[in-house]
Symmetry: C2
Subunit: 384 residues, 2 copies
């Protein structure tokens, strides 16, 4: 296989010389942007199917798993290939199975997700460039360390500061705290989510106000236990970490506007549950709450029944008290996500009781393309 | 295996229940700090040998390769283990070989090195804490993007700003540009190298002056070709990128002190070659040059003969012109690095001609522990 670089976006046109001996050119195929350096495989074909290749002559069985598992075929040179079904555009974690052992693909970049360093393939979506690097003013993505009294450890935190933060030396900014999902950490929104690029582009277009985006590590367990996820004890541990450790550190370190209307809390999946619990229980602190693709309302096996009035007292019985305090209460979900029915149902319940809630759905399942679009949408609705 | 967290450094004491059925406690064993989340393997024993574990019942052969290759042994439950020879302290890339296929270990974090996302194990060194996170003022590590006219692409760059950079709004700082080695990129000094933590600790102790550290991607090829590494054409491509793209971007974005005496250029291995070429050919721009573990002087197969006077005209014939312009010319190397003899020889040649050069060597081979120590040493010598 050989490739020619054709654009400033490092997209490569691949001329695929198939391994059976006859050279064959797959017109329009491109190397995935998630490939390592100049690797030309995985290769995305024009129908968004993906060609994977693994050189493993001594393996007896090689599969690629990106939600669905595909058996790869070996040729006489020990090179395994498979072309998948057409995929949804967007960012998908995937694994190789080498004789049954699940590993990252050395041909791709790895990302912290699914509780380990996982391969991923980022399939460009036609006509969608809101998360592409462009010639607009860029903010910084800053990695900082703070000491958490809750965990007794140093924790890394990523913070986006908007363009001209250094130059506008006395200007204060509203702040969005945004949480990753289970099996991810503070790298999720910074790397997979491209939060900085999304905000750069929105701010340049005048569609979002310049804001600081704080991306903490939301993995908290009930103190002294391993209880995590959607349990109320783990949610409460997150609330304490955010309010007592993260926020004081951020407000000391950056020029943040005061007041609930200048603060937003959002998150995806488990982080959506954290935003829901901590945001709606602390409306004096957060007047903007974004809940993306959460399983809190149901649709996943870990959550059987959710009593929303018990979780957030008054939300159904006294919705006006929330309507007056909350400026943006936003819920989104992927249209192919198993959480969609439970999500739509609770939105209907909220609305039937008179609670103001903004709802959006996007094509795709439980995946980063939906979350990028959710941030892109949510960021345009807040602080205005 | 089960572990107890004992300190704020996330070091875990491991009680190793061996897999043959009989529980066995390995006293003093610790989980490597590079392990994923709460994984307790790989486990470092008190003699710095390392126990690796892989659960791969269907694999026919499993090895771990960290310089030397070790065959792992499978028990009846399909769990493979091996305990290596005692290792040097420090950061070592390693791979698993699953039926001959080289992959990252899902039990460890992955790092961009050796031209791919590679596993690594970071073995603490007794009594050495200059790269440990401590309760001192911390600077930021900022990720920025700039457009390179040389490559025609957006490139990521990491920049350390010292503590109080935001608060001291008019203060200007000296700047150190520091380069990674071959097969690495701008993540090397930021993640593996822990440059930010090293500087935080040095500045807090008053041993280094507050400085900005710029960590570019130094992977440049001769334009229009794939020629890279130590070739003069690739070195020249780096020089142009640094002087014409990186430096103007940095000087526009940060508060940098003017003048060669306030600029340093350093690098490791291939990056040491880049620092040597670009630094010594541009002494009006850089008065401080650090060359760590470079193969430029010999000791590796790619470099057969190096004519230093041809590379840097006047360096042997008119050393005084360099002595007056250069404030710090520093060379370091690992004592077990195959490059050490060629490095010592050129230092002797320089000194015999009257060129001032500072030399240091550190225990270890061609590896990050030597480079962390080199930065720790070099940063104390410059800008004073």
């Amino acid at each position: 296989m050989s490739c020619i670089k054709i654009s400033s976006l490092s997209v490569l046109i691949c001329f695929l010389f198939l391994i059976q001996g006859n050279a064959q050119i797959l017109e329009g195929a491109i190397a995935a942007p998630t490939n390592i350096r100049s690797d030309d495989c995985p290769c995305i074909l024009s129908d968004l199917s993906v060609l994977f290749r693994v050189i493993a002559p001594d393996a007896a069985k090689v599969q690629v798993d990106l939600g669905k598992s595909y058996d790869m075929q070996k040729n006489e040179n020990g090179i395994w290939t498979v072309t998948t079904d057409p995929q949804e555009a967007g960012f998908h974690y995937y694994s190789l199975m080498i004789d049954g052992f699940k590993v990252a693909d050395p041909a791709s970049e790895s990302f912290y997700g699914t509780g380990r360093m996982s391969s991923a393939i980022d399939i460009p979506e036609a006509g969608v460039d809101f998360y592409s690097l462009k010639e607009v003013p860029h903010g910084d993505l800053r990695s900082k360390n703070y000491f958490s009294k809750a965990t007794g450890t140093w924790r890394n935190i990523n913070v986006y500061t908007p363009p001209n933060y250094d130059q506008e030396k006395n200007k204060k900014y509203p702040v969005l705290y945004i949480q990753h999902g289970g099996g991810e950490d503070e790298r999720g929104w910074a790397i997979q989510g491209k939060a900085n690029i999304i905000l750069d582009n929105l701010i340049a277009a005048g569609k979002a106000v310049p804001m600081i985006v704080v991306i903490p590590n939301g993995n908290m367990t009930k103190p002294g236990t391993n209880v995590r996820g959607y349990s109320e004890a783990a949610m409460d541990a997150f609330r304490k970490e955010l309010l007592e450790n993260v926020m004081p550190f951020i407000e000391k370190s950056f020029r943040i506007k005061a007041g609930a209307s200048n603060r937003a809390l959002a998150g995806l999946s488990m982080g959506g549950g954290q935003a829901f619990y901590t945001g709606l229980r602390n409306t004096d602190t957060f007047a903007n709450v974004g809940v993306f693709s959460t399983g809190l309302f149901g649709g996943i096996s870990q959550v059987t029944e959710f009593d929303v009035e018990a979780a957030i007292p008054g939300i159904l019985t006294n919705p006006q008290s929330f309507n007056t305090k909350i400026k943006t209460f936003y819920i989104s979900v992927g249209e192919a996500d198993q959480r969609i029915e439970a999500t739509k149902k609770i939105v209907e319940t909220f609305r039937s009781k008179g609670l103001k809630v903004e709802f959006a759905s996007f094509p795709g399942g439980h995946e980063w393309q939906v979350w990028r679009k959710s941030l892109h949408d949510f960021a345009q609705r807040v602080f205005k």
